[in-house]
Each structure stands twice: as structure tokens, then as C-alpha cells.
Amino acid sequence: MASKIRLTQVILDVLDVLAASPPDDPAWGLRLCEATGYGTGTVYPALNRLMKAGWIEDHWEDPPPEDRPKRRFYTITSTGRQMYDATLREREHRRASWLRPAPRTGPAS
């Protein structure tokens, strides 16, 4: 079941990369670290939190390669995408309301 999580900048950056990743070439840990610019100590806990909330899901590389360790891929779930889109809309709306000039209430002189 998907639950709400506190959206930090790290979470949003990770979600940006995951949402932009094509299904045939999903993102994995190292690529996420390189794309977001955060270290392993930041990206993996964020992924763990997103996994627990049900926003993303994981799968191990199949079939496993013989010459290197198998990778863990992450994909965004449909629920996660909905939540992510809703959050982005909400943020945009909030930002627009802050930037909008306050309407004049007094009589024009």
C-alpha cells in the first residue's frame, strides 16, 4: 500500500531520474548516484524510503551476468507516478500563488 512521505529535495531528484528512465534501461544505484550527484549514503536511504512507501519497486538483474555482480534495478510504480505528478502540480500551484502579485483592493486614485 502506498503511503505519503516527506518530500525532500533528494527524494524529488531521485524520482526525477526514475521517472525519466526508460523501461528497457531502468536505473540502478550507481547511475542514480551519478545522475543526481549525491553520494551512496544519501541515495540508498532515499530509495529505501521510497520502496517502503510503495512509490518504487525493485528487481534484480535477470539473468545474472557471469562476469560481474548482478545489479538491482528500480522502477517507479503507477501509484508512485501519480503521487509524484500530484506533488509536482501542488508545488507548482504553491509556487505560482507565492509569485502572484496581491490584488489591489483600494480605490484607484
Binding site: G39, T40, G41, Y44, N48, R68, K70, R71, R72
Partner: protein
Amino acid sequence: MKEQPAVPIRLAEPSWPTVLATTLSIWLARRLRRPYMGQGGVRRADTRWRLVAFVLALAILTLVGLQLSGAVSTTTPAPSIGWPKAWIELLCAAIPVAGAFSMFVLAYLRRARGRHRVRRAALAGVSVRILTALAAVLAGRGGKVLFRESDAHLAGESGHDTPNGAKLKQAAGFVLAGARYRGQDWADAASRPVDAVLRSRFLSGLFVVVPTIVVAVEVLTHKGTMTVLTSFGSIFGVGTALAGAIKAGRKYRDVEPPEPKARQARKENGGA
């Protein structure tokens, strides 16, 4: 005239002390006076002499310290020299430990100097392994998965990256990740009862009312009725603060309690 056969001259055998002294001198020469190890090599003799001098100095320092502290004195305690005795004893204990550690580091550095790259890479590999294992232990339940994932991560895009300083830094990041995994688990475990209180109107009410009543009863018992009346504002403040905490907690955790039954019934009746 028949020549006499030449009698081989037999030298006298050296005495035992001479044999012992020669053996010792050869052994010392071997141990302490090694020649240069080729071009660019390390002259071991220097390092060895330095080590010997270092250890001797440590031993002398320790003995002097022990003597000053009176620890080795069998008769009367040593006269006070103004230093706290405990500090001297602590110093005496620390000197051999520091000496042993320094000798270990020196010995390691001396060995590592000869075969730079291979040793350094091997050391980095071992350190990376130790760090990722530590991360797995710290992470708790998700540790096994994190360990396998760190393997793939540290192997790099090519899958065959060699361990180096950057990999070591990434491995240290995994330790932090492991600690944060554990922190998340603890926070989740702690938030469960908090969420239960925030979701339930009854429990939230208890959280506000019970401490307020306890404070009021305490004031009543120890200070009297009049004080309860005069410090009504303070008691009311306790209740208000707790109610505020519940409200803030609900907002922070994004938790909504169910509507009261009376309001639900009113809604079902169409607001009549």
C-alpha cells in the same frame, strides 16, 4: 734423500666464547646491517637502527616513569614531585601501547614502500570489504540486500573496477546508508504508537486530559485549593500545550482522526 711428506698445518680450534661471539656478531650484522636493496630500495639498516633506538627510548621512559610514580618502589613511597600519581601511571601504561602501535605502523610502512600499487590496491579492497560488511551489520534487516547491492555498485559501470580511494569513499557512504537504514527502522517503530494516538480521538483526548489532571491533583495535594485557583493559568497552559502538540503532530505526520459519531450521524441525516 727421501723427502718427508708435508704435514698439513692444523690451526688451533677457536674457543667457545670466540665461536659464540662470532655467531652473535654475524647474526647482528645480518639483522642490522643489510645492504641496499637495489636501485631505489630502502636501506633497512637505517630503519632497524631507528626502531631499536625508538624501542630503547620507550623502555627507558617507561622505567623512569614507573620509578617516579613509586610503582616499582619496594620500600617507602617516592617523594612527591608535584605530578599527580594517576597521570604518571596512565602515561606509563600509554607509552608501551603507543610504542607497540607505532612499531606496527612503521613496520607496515616499511613493507608497503617496496610494493606500492599491489599492496595499496589489496589494502583498499580489504578496507572496502570491511566497510560494506559493517554497513550490512548496521543496516539490520535490509543488510544482506545492501551488501549485495554495494558489490554491484563498487564494481562500477564496467563491472570490473578496481578498488581505490574513490571506492573507499563510496564504501564509507554505504556505512552511512546502513546507519540510516537502521535509523529509519527505529523511527518507523517509534512512529507506530505515535500515529495510533494521533489517529484516535479517544487516545488523543487521554494524552491531553490525563497529564493535565495529574498536574492539577499534584498542585491540590501539595499546595491547597487556593493555589489550584491561582495557578489555573499554568494548569490550563499544560493542557493547551499538549493539545497543540497533538495538532502539530497530526499535521506533520499527515494523519486525520475519524469524524466524531455525532457529526457523522448529522451528515447522514442531511444536516437536519
